[in-house]
C-alpha cells in the first residue's frame, strides 16, 4: 500500500476530486439545502460525520463483508449512522432539524457516501479511510458553502441569517428558488473547471 500524507487527502478531497464540483455527486442535496449558509453548514457537518463513521466501520469490516452482499452491507452501515446523526440533531439542534427536514434522512442515498465506501474504504485501512472521509466531507461542505454564499448573499442579502446588505436590499428572489440553485451551481462548477483547466495548461 502506498504511503500517503494528509496533504494528499486534502488536495484530493477539496480540489482535485471534490465530490461535488468535480465528481458531480450528491447534487440533489446541494441544490436543495444551499438556500442559507446555516443550512449548508448543518448539512455539510452531518454528511461529514456520516462519511467518517461509515468509512471507518466499512474499512474495519472490509475483510469480513463478502463481495456479493457488500452493497447491502454498506447501505445498512450508512443508514444506521444517518439515523443516529438525525436523532442527535433532533435532540440538540432542533432549529437545524426543522430547516433541513427530509434532507438529513436522504444522506443515506447521497451517492458521495456510498461512492467513498465502494471506491476507497473497502480497499484501504481505517486511518486512511478516516482521512478520506474527513476531506471528502470537507470538500462537500466547502462546495455547499460556496453555492449557499452566493444564493444567500445575493438572493436575500444576508449571511447565516443575518442581514448584511441592509433592509432596503430587495433580494433576487430567483436565487432563493430551485431554478436559481441550478444556475448558481452550474456557474460555480464552470468556474472551477475553467481555473483547473488553465492551471493544467501551464
Amino acid at each position: 500500500m502506498k504511503r500517503r500524507g494528509i496533504a494528499w487527502f486534502a488536495k484530493e478531497g477539496l480540489l482535485k476530486n471534490n465530490p461535488v464540483l468535480v465528481q458531480l455527486l450528491g447534487l440533489c442535496s446541494v441544490l436543495a439545502v444551499s438556500t442559507t449558509m446555516t443550512n449548508a453548514l448543518g448539512m455539510g457537518a452531518a454528511a461529514t460525520v456520516v462519511l467518517i463513521c461509515s468509512n471507518l466501520l466499512i474499512s474495519l469490516l472490509r475483510r469480513l463483508i463478502p463481495e456479493q452482499v457488500r452493497i447491502a452491507a454498506y447501505i445498512v452501515v450508512i443508514s444506521g449512522f444517518v439515523t443516529a446523526v438525525q436523532l442527535i440533531i433532533k435532540a440538540y439542534l432542533p432549529a437545524i432539524d426543522k430547516s433541513l427536514g427530509i434532507f438529513i434522512p436522504l444522506i443515506v442515498v447521497n451517492c458521495i457516501v456510498l461512492a467513498r465506501a465502494e471506491a476507497f474504504a473497502s480497499k484501504n485501512g481505517p486511518v486512511a479511510s478516516i482521512l478520506d472521509g474527513v476531506f471528502m466531507g470537507l470538500g462537500y461542505t466547502a462546495a455547499l458553502l460556496c453555492v449557499s454564499f452566493i444564493r444567500e448573499f445575493f438572493g436575500s442579502g444576508s449571511l447565516f441569517g443575518i442581514k448584511v446588505l441592509g433592509e432596503s436590499y430587495p433580494g433576487i428572489l430567483m436565487l432563493t428558488m430551485p431554478a436559481g440553485a441550478f444556475l448558481c451551481l452550474a456557474c460555480v462548477v464552470a468556474a472551477v473547471r475553467y481555473f483547473s483547466a488553465r492551471k493544467g495548461d501551464k
Binding site: I65, V69, V76, G80, A84, L87, K90, A91, K98, T176
Partner: protein, 192 residues
C-alpha cells in the same frame, strides 16, 4: 462444489446479519440517549407557542383522545387560564400547502372564538412568498373570527393563494373540532 456454494451463501448471510446487528445496537444506543431530549424539545416548543397565544397560561392538558377525530387535526389541548377564569383551548391542525404540510396551532377561548394563531411548520412554502403566512400581520387576521368556509373574511397573502388557503383550511378544521368540544362540554354541564 455444491457444499462450497452453500457455505458461501451461509457466510454471506451471517456476515450481513453481523453487520446489521452492530448497526442496530448503535442506533438503539443513540435512541436511548436522545429520546428523552427530543420529547422534552417537542414539549418546550408547544409550550412556547401556547404562551405566545395566551400570554401567561402555560398549564395545559392533552384532550385529543376524548375528542371525535376531524381530518387534519393532530391534537387538542385544554389550556388552564392563569387568572382562574374559564379554560381556553388550543388545536394543532395541518393542511396541505404548496410544498408539504402547513401546521398551525390555533388558540380558542371558551366561546370558540379565535384568540391567536401561530405557525408550527411551513417549511415547504416558497421563501419570500408563501412563507409570508408566518408574518404576524397575516396571522392576526384570524383573531376574533369563527368558522369561515370560504376564507372570505380574511385578507390572504397576495401571490400566495395556495399557502393562504392551506392556513384557512387548517383553521377551519380546528374550528370544526372546537364546535364538537364545546357542544360536548355544554351537554355535560346540562346533564350535571
Amino acid at each position: 462444489m455444491q457444499e462450497n456454494k452453500n457455505g458461501k451463501i451461509l457466510f454471506s448471510t451471517l456476515s450481513l446479519l453481523f453487520v446489521s446487528g452492530i448497526i442496530a445496537c448503535l442506533v438503539a444506543l443513540v435512541n436511548n440517549f436522545t429520546a428523552p431530549v427530543i420529547a422534552q424539545q417537542n414539549k418546550q416548543a408547544l409550550q412556547q407557542n401556547i404562551e405566545k397565544i395566551f400570554s401567561g397560561s402555560t398549564d395545559y392538558e392533552d384532550i385529543t383522545a376524548s375528542v371525535e377525530a376531524v381530518e387534519g387535526v393532530n391534537a387538542v389541548y385544554k389550556v388552564k387560564s392563569s387568572s382562574g377564569g374559564q379554560d381556553n383551548y388550543c388545536v394543532h391542525s395541518s393542511a396541505a400547502g404548496y410544498g408539504g404540510a402547513v401546521e398551525l396551532l390555533i388558540g380558542f377561548n371558551c366561546d370558540g372564538q379565535i384568540m391567536g394563531v401561530s405557525v408550527l411548520a411551513a417549511d415547504g412554502e416558497t421563501p419570500g412568498v408563501g412563507q409570508k403566512i408566518k408574518e404576524q400581520s397575516f396571522l392576526d387576521g384570524f383573531k376574533g373570527l369563527e368558522y369561515d368556509a370560504e376564507g372570505t373574511k380574511l385578507d390572504g397573502v397576495s401571490g400566495a393563494t395556495v399557502s393562504s388557503t392551506a392556513a384557512v383550511k387548517a383553521v377551519n378544521n380546528a374550528c370544526l373540532v372546537m364546535d364538537k368540544v364545546l357542544s360536548a362540554e355544554t351537554s355535560e354541564e346540562v346533564a350535571e
